[in-house]
């Protein structure tokens, strides 16, 4: 029987309360094994305090071909940013 260990994506949360961040992938036979491997491969220098592992096959990703349809609508909505509004200096910090 010859079968490659499945691929897992690894997410690590650092020390300072930020979200888990994708750091890379690795092969492991199950979730527990993936956590053990992630610890050895991705946290040798105290890079994190929490690890998430997700089977790569379970991730649904947006298609690069849909880039325009998904993100272009935001192009003409500059009013969603605070810098769109001119507030006079006299008003003070806002």
């Amino acid at each position: 029987m010859k079968q490659e260990w499945p691929l897992w994506e690894v997410f690590i949360r650092g020390q300072h309360g930020l979200s888990h961040r994708h750091v890379g992938s690795l092969h492991a036979t199950d979730a527990e094994h993936a956590i053990q491997n992630a610890r050895d491969v991705y946290t040798r220098r105290k890079e994190g305090v929490s690890i998430w592992v997700v089977p790569a096959a379970q991730i649904t990703a947006s298609s690069p071909d849909d880039k325009e349809a998904l993100y272009d609508p935001a192009d003409d909505k500059v009013y969603r940013h605070p810098t769109f509004y001119d507030i006079p200096d006299d008003v003070g910090a806002m």
Partner: protein, 325 residues
């Protein structure tokens, strides 16, 4: 470098798509796994990242050779940590290569049957403890020269693995120089050992950058695709200019009688390594080439039952879990 003499693949894609792809690269876009890419770009990258990964893995062998014989417990712990890092670097790179549609097993098999190479430098033996110093200082130093610019390479997963690797690589070079300082300031015998290590590793380190690629069409294509950032000569010059003053600091002599500062170019003139030796090593005729592949083959064969047993155990656990639900 860790990837040497990488042939770029000719590409026969739709010219319009090719132009759009090149425009993205020229604009500094990162190419991601699901994006369209020319077949040649994909193939060349698999070869390059694969060879880079193999070099990290095979590169563990010459250093692993000294773990049990490190002179102090602290040196042993440091060397273990370094060799473990190299394994990690190999893993980051294998994963980057896998995003291009090649499997881990295929990559391993291509190394073992000689279809893929690893860097020429790891076919040289590590004969004394001073070699651990020389490898860290020179070999990792040369690797850094190449890997720092590769953090900006066009392929996203490759660039990201380089960022991680570069963060860790600086420790490798510094621990090597630290060993060299200790040896160079030690007894006469230790100093001789340090000089001998420099003598043996100097030219093989210069070879790591590969022969001049001024005229190479492969390099030209790879540079256009931003999977190669600098010419081989450019990086080699940078390495020599950086390393010679460090050797002087150590009180060691670079084994090159022609070495001289050239005011006009603002760099050193130096002798080229023996390129026929380089080609011979790359063909698999280096002093340790056979031993290295034998060691990898043995690890692959001896580990087969572990790989299978872990899969079987995971399947059993999963079945028990399903039955309990």
């Amino acid at each position: 470098m860790y990837a040497q003499m990488i042939k770029s693949e000719a590409t026969q894609d739709d010219p319009e798509k090719l132009a759009a792809f090149q425009a993205r690269i020229d604009a500094g876009d990162k190419i991601e796994p699901k994006d369209w890419m020319p077949a040649g770009y994909r193939k060349t990258l698999i070869r390059q990242i694969g060879q880079h990964a193999h070099s990290e893995i095979v590169g563990q062998l010459p250093e692993g050779n000294w773990i049990t014989r490190a002179p102090t417990l602290e040196r042993k712990a440091i060397l273990l940590a370094k060799v473990q890092d190299e394994a990690g670097h190999g893993l980051y790179l294998y994963c980057a290569a896998e995003t291009l549609g090649v499997s881990r097993d295929e990559l391993t098999e291509m190394l073992l049957d000689g279809r893929m190479k690893y860097s020429s430098i790891f076919s040289y033996p590590t004969l004394t403890w001073a070699d651990m110093g020389a490898v860290g200082w020179l070999v990792d130093g040369a690797a850094i020269m190449n890997q720092v610019p590769l953090q900006r390479t066009s392929y996203g997963p490759y660039a990201r693995s380089m960022v991680r690797i570069c963060k860790e690589e600086s420790f490798h070079q510094r621990q090597g120089f630290d060993i060299m300082m200790k040896m160079a300031n030690g007894t006469d015998a230790q100093k001789r050992m340090a000089q001998d290590a420099l003598n043996r590793f100097w030219y093989p380190s210069l070879m790591m950058f590969g022969p001049s690629d001024k005229e190479s069409v492969h390099s030209e294509q790879s540079m256009r695709w931003k999977i190669k950032m600098n010419s081989n000569d450019e990086l080699r010059q940078k390495f020599v200019d950086q390393t010679v003053p460090q050797a002087e600091y150590l009180g060691l002599t670079v084994p090159d009688k022609t070495l001289a500062w050239n005011e006009e170019k603002g760099g050193y003139d130096f002798a080229e390594p023996d390129w026929s030796e380089f080609f011979d090593v790359l063909k698999g005729n280096g002093p340790c080439s056979v031993e290295r592949i034998e060691a990898r083959q043995k690890a692959w064969d001896d580990g087969a039952w572990v790989r299978e047993a872990r899969m079987a155990h995971a399947a059993k656990k999963q079945a028990a879990k399903v039955a309990a639900e």
